[in-house]
């Protein structure tokens, strides 16, 4: 049993004793007090009666001034051991006879006596005196004077003390015994409860149970509830353990690598797949040790982003290369989600790394394929542009041969047509000029060249083109890819436009709206075609999503988005399908420098 300096049982015992002793003392004091007062009154009454007896026997000695018989009368007082002195005095207060219990001495002077009560009582320190007049035939013939010590009271007090002590002792023993018994029913269950609680909290053992006391009282309810609580904790504990186990099993069986960390971002747990892929141990990886498997070149980009996510408590998402046990890096889509407690504070972080190396490779392949396919489509659309002047040239050369007189003029016309063809091939070449690193390019010029390639198609549909290509705006990027972006957006607009629709194209210098301010160029393509429905808007950039069932591959806008992002640019799309006022606007922002060094 736990030892407390002021244990509940000690307190209970002390309380019992105090109450019993207090009550007993109070009762005794009241009782003895009353008894003492009564006793003193009796003492005086006894003395007064004795004085009267002496008085009535002293009448004749007084009348005859017979001190001898007066002394005899007084000697009867020898039986009263507390009377130290008694004297008989004449009516004038003269001493007649006296009695001394101890040594006879000088008789004391008579005090004045109240003529009405005929008696005077005075208490002094250790004695009291009583003087009484002796009447005879209505006249005072003398006085009796008695002096008594208070030994009687002291004797009584002494015996009281003995009685009180005995009773007190006996009752305290009884109280102690009673409290021991009462403890058994009150204190003991509570103390046992306290001990059990201590065992539970110290050993985290929720399987212990308290025996419920037989008496149904508050304590038994308390014990009952305590047991109930333990059962509940045990259930919750096992449910928690089970879900934790399930989580571990799940986390170890998923294809992703997973990990957990505290609110500060110190990682404390990784799933099996992490260790298998990286070939590391928890000791190496704990806290911020994961940096070991990161690409040192990428880390300066990862760390600030991770720290910012930790501070803001926001979801972290980034494609990060991680080194495998074989020393090769693979690309992982890394996501970390803050787990919040009931107060909304970040309690811990849960993260996953999904290997998207193959996906990225497949996407890159698809992008390359689509670039080639787009080039193919472009080739088909410009075939017309080339075939028409070729037809004219063929005819003109034939005519020049047939009509030598006009040969000069036919050949001049053929020359002009050949210039047309040369211009087309020159414009087309821009699409193939795909440099490995970004180069400086005149964006305004590129935009006009691409528009020129589609001018025939636009004229065929009688599309009104309103264009502001900007004033020789230059950017650093991949010229072929920028042209591809323009070509896809223009071709889409032409497809969407009805006969005699309007296409507005505008390029202007500007700054990026969201995030860090960055100088660049914004190119807007606005057509008043049928617009894009909100359902299509959501999926329009997804690969293989197309609304042109037979002619589209569904990769055009996906490619545009990919190429714009490659240039660290942004692509915005807004559209309205409102009847008669429909429109679609694509807005491309390209930063001045596609890649920051």
């Amino acid at each position: 049993m736990t030892k407390f300096r002021n244990s509940l049982s000690k307190k209970l015992t002390a309380m019992n004793m105090l109450v019993s002793a207090g009550a007993l003392l109070l009762a005794s004091v009241a009782f003895f007090g009353y008894d003492l007062v009564t006793f003193r009154t009796n003492l005086v009454t006894n003395a007064s009666i004795q004085a009267q007896i002496i008085g009535s026997n002293a009448v004749s000695p007084l009348l005859f001034n017979d001190s001898k018989s007066a002394e005899t009368t007084l000697s009867g007082l020898r039986a009263s051991q507390h009377i130290t002195y008694a004297g008989i005095y004449s009516a004038h207060g003269d001493f007649l006879a006296g009695y001394w219990r101890d040594q006879p001495s000088q008789p004391p002077a008579l005090p004045s006596v109240d003529p009405v009560t005929r008696e005077t009582v005075n208490f002094a320190d250790k004695e009291f005196i009583l003087a009484r007049s002796i009447p005879f035939q209505g006249k005072e013939v003398g006085y009796v004077f008695i002096r008594s010590d208070l030994g009687a009271i002291n004797d009584r007090l002494r015996s009281y003390a003995v009685i009180l002590f005995t009773i007190l002792t006996a009752s305290l023993v009884a109280a102690l015994t009673l409290s021991r018994i009462s403890q058994r029913s009150i204190a003991r269950p509570i103390l046992a409860l306290a001990d059990t609680a201590k065992v539970v909290s110290e050993h985290k053992d929720y399987s212990v149970r308290m025996p419920v006391p037989r008496d149904r009282d508050e304590v038994s309810v308390l014990v009952d509830e305590f047991n109930q609580m333990l059962t509940e904790i045990q259930n919750r504990d096992s449910a928690l353990q089970q879900s934790e186990e399930q989580f571990r099993t799940l986390a170890n069986s998923i294809a992703q690598m997973a990990w957990m960390g505290d609110s500060e971002g110190n990682l404390t747990w990784y799933n099996q797949r992490w260790y298998e892929y990286t070939g590391t141990t928890l000791e190496q990886m704990a806290g911020w040790g994961w940096q070991q498997v990161h690409d040192p070149q990428k880390l300066p980009e990862v760390l600030p982003k991770w720290r910012a996510a930790l501070v803001k408590g926001e979801v972290f998402e980034m494609i990060i290369p991680l080194r495998g046990a074989d020393g090769n890096f693979r690309q992982f889509l890394t996501r970390a989600v803050p787990i919040r407690d009931a107060q909304g504070k970040v309690a811990r972080w849960f993260g996953t790394n999904t290997d998207i190396t193959e996906q990225l490779r497949a996407e890159e392949n698809l992008r390359q394929t689509e670039k080639l396919a787009a080039t193919g489509r472009l080739a088909a659309s410009i075939a017309h542009e080339i075939n028409n002047p070729l037809e004219a040239v063929t005819n003109l050369i034939y005519l020049a041969r047939r009509q030598p007189a006009n040969a000069e003029k036919y050949l001049r016309l053929a020359d002009e047509e050949l210039d047309r063809i040369a211009q087309i091939t020159k414009n087309t070449l821009g699409f193939y000029r795909d440099s490995a690193s970004p180069t400086k390019m005149n964006l305004s010029e590129a935009l006009q060249e691409v528009l020129a390639l589609y001018s025939r198609k636009m004229e065929f549909k009688r599309i009104v083109l309103i264009c502001d290509p900007g004033d020789d705006i230059e950017i650093t990027g991949y010229p072929g890819e920028v042209r591809q972006v323009f070509a896809n957006l223009i071709a889409n607009a032409i497809d969407a436009l009805p006969r005699e629709g309007t296409l507005r194209v505008r390029a202007s210098r500007g700054c990026c709206r969201d995030g860090v301010t960055e100088r660049g160029v914004r190119i807007t393509f606005l057509d008043n075609g049928s617009g894009i429905s909100s359902a299509d808007l959501k999926k329009i950039f997804a690969p293989f999503y197309t609304t042109k069932k037979n002619t589209g591959t569904g990769l055009g806008l996906w490619l545009v988005k990919g190429l714009v992002e490659k240039h660290r640019g942004t692509l915005h799309l807004r559209s309205s399908t409102e009847q008669g006022r429909s429109w679609t606007a694509f807005s491309v922002f390209l930063p001045e420098h596609a890649l920051r060094n």
């Binding site: 080339i386 002009e416 047309r420 505008r506």
Partner: protein
């Protein structure tokens, strides 16, 4: 936001000159240097929005003794067909206004025996032809560029006398 829009001028592109210019070039040809065509016999109508092509083809056909005229649009050709009643129509496919297929269908309604030959520089005409075939209109098609000798023999094969 849009302040400095300008109406875009197609002719500012060097590859796409004003189509009317080409006819001017041909008009400037020496009158005496032209081969004299015939203005009798079955009529051949050559339709192309690129008038340089239409006029050079007509020039070639006239040189071979055909009675040919050039027309710069499908709409105009349909209008002319009512009075001219051509025996053979050679038409470009991708043209502003009525395209070659629509023009052919319309002309056939006016002149049921008229032979329609399409010539196109674009692969994308496949869809248009497919649509026409589905509605019962089958046209012969030639691909641009075509050698004048081949063009002439194709026309010759289509002439009603054969």
């Amino acid at each position: 936001m849009i302040q400095s829009w300008q109406i875009f001028d197609y002719s500012s592109f060097p590859i796409f000159g004003d189509p009317d210019q080409t006819s001017k070039h041909l008009d400037a040809l020496d009158e005496t240097g032209r081969s004299s065509g015939v203005d009798h016999g079955p009529k051949i109508m050559v339709i192309d929005d690129e008038t340089l092509i239409a006029e050079t083809v007509v020039e070639i056909l006239k040189g071979e003794g055909f009675n040919a005229i050039s027309v710069s649009s499908g709409d105009l050709a349909v209008e002319l067909a009512k009075t001219m009643r051509p025996a053979v129509v050679l038409s470009d496919v991708m043209m502003p206004g009525l395209n070659g297929i629509e023009t052919g269908i319309r002309i056939r309604e006016i002149v049921p025996n008229c032979k329609i030959i399409l010539f196109s520089g674009q692969a994308a005409t496949g869809n248009l032809l497919e649509e026409a075939r589905n509605s019962g209109h089958v046209f012969e098609i030639l691909a641009k560029p075509i050698k004048p000798a081949n063009l002439v023999s194709a026309i010759r094969a289509s002439m009603p006398s054969h």
